[in-house]
Symmetry: C2
Subunit: 222 residues, 2 copies
DNA sequence: GTCTATATTCGGATAGAC
DNA sequence: GTCTATCCGAATATAGAC
């Protein structure tokens, strides 16, 4: 019954949504410029000009994927940067939330993070959003160092380590097999182990992270 | 005097080498398919058809960059996977060596690691080399867990964390400013802090890592 | 070793029928 | 909402002069 339901759900996906999903996989595999509108159309099962009924340009497809992957993450990071309580717990919560969102997404978002294109003028607004996200994460790390929860470490370096782990997770997911459900917490554990001044607080911090409330919701597909 | 020397050195770079350097930057910024041979030629300061005097195809340029970034790293990782002594120290040494190589390289090797293209048939041999590299690193990690030096952690996850950090370092370097000279050891420290069962052994392990001898040499440019 | 000129294929996007 | 047919610019690569 649940299989039948799943199939029904699959079949009710709109063409527009299928374009987004197939595009994300092609962009991830061959880059934005390496994926032609003909490739996308073929993957979706329509002819090339039919794409332009759903999106005005190829750019618009990519922009929608960018917006999906960045807007909500940035909102969550900025919320957590301003929230109270343990900064370490807030970083932990961000990692768990963001990984889960990326893991469960039907899109393969590698091309956004590897960002062949993010520097281009056409996509500049999202370069800005990506910056906001980075600044918010760096801010949480700075707070954790100031509070003595993290070791003395260069903030930009720690922030980059976070990005590196995220990117690698997205990449792995797109290589095929499903990632285990514990992956988000495991990744957050890993990160915190490297950063905490007192490793034995990890359990306590994870518990506090779970209790944080009021986060902005992530967008659904469809 | 040393500045004059440096300038002389700069000016003695061959056209072929300049093609490799400019290509690597373009590939990193806009992807392999997003960078035309016209773009490359313009960056080098010659006309587009002149490229084909130095490389038979555009593919061949990318393949040379692939070979540069993967062959020696894989050789070093495989040597260290078979070497004796502390596995943790061997992983540490690999991280330091590989980061230094990537940091000091005149090429921007992001496009190789983000690998839009590595899955393509045309570049299949280097997909294999990348696999060899990953297997060797995973093997060192496995040895360290078995020896009780590392916490019980999923090997593939730890290996991915290594890749993520590497990628992020390459990316950062290419965004502009020079990275500090301590970056390789700092990165290795970070990684080991997350992995070690007993964090206090870090100093001792770094010292043993420095003492490892007989590593295959990395290639020079020109 | 670099140039001009050009062959040829493939890219994004539009017009208009159904 | 999808199709066929088509425009037009840009892509890789070659030929042959200097």
């Amino acid at each position: 019954m649940s299989v039948a339901k799943a199939l029904t759900t699959e079949e009710s996906i709109t063409t527009r949504e299928r374009i987004l999903r197939e595009s994300s996989h092609l962009f991830a595999a061959r880059g934005y410029y390496g994926s032609s509108t003909r490739d996308i159309a073929k993957a979706v099962g329509i002819r090339q000009p039919s794409l332009f009924h759903h999106f005005p340009t190829k750019q618009a497809i990519f922009q929608e994927l960018l917006s999906y992957s960045l807007d909500d993450s940035a909102a969550v990071a900025e919320y957590l940067a301003r929230a109270g309580g343990s900064p370490a717990a807030r970083l932990y919560r961000f990692l768990v939330e963001d990984f889960r969102y990326l893991m469960d997404s039907p899109y393969d978002l590698r091309s956004i993070f590897t960002s062949d294109v993010l520097l281009d003028d056409e996509f500049e607004p999202w370069g800005q959003t990506a910056d906001d996200l980075y600044v918010a994460v760096a801010d949480i790390i700075r707070q954790a160092i100031a509070a003595g929860e993290f070791i003395e470490i260069e903030v930009s370096f720690a922030r980059q380590a976070v990005s590196g782990l995220m990117l690698e997770t997205i990449r792995e997911r797109s290589l095929g097999e499903e990632l285990p459900a514990q992956r988000p917490t495991r990744t957050a554990d890993f990160m915190l182990r490297a950063l905490l001044a007192d490793r034995s607080r990890l359990g306590e911090i994870a518990a506090e992270a779970c209790a944080i409330e009021g986060l902005p919701a992530y967008r659904d597909t469809e």
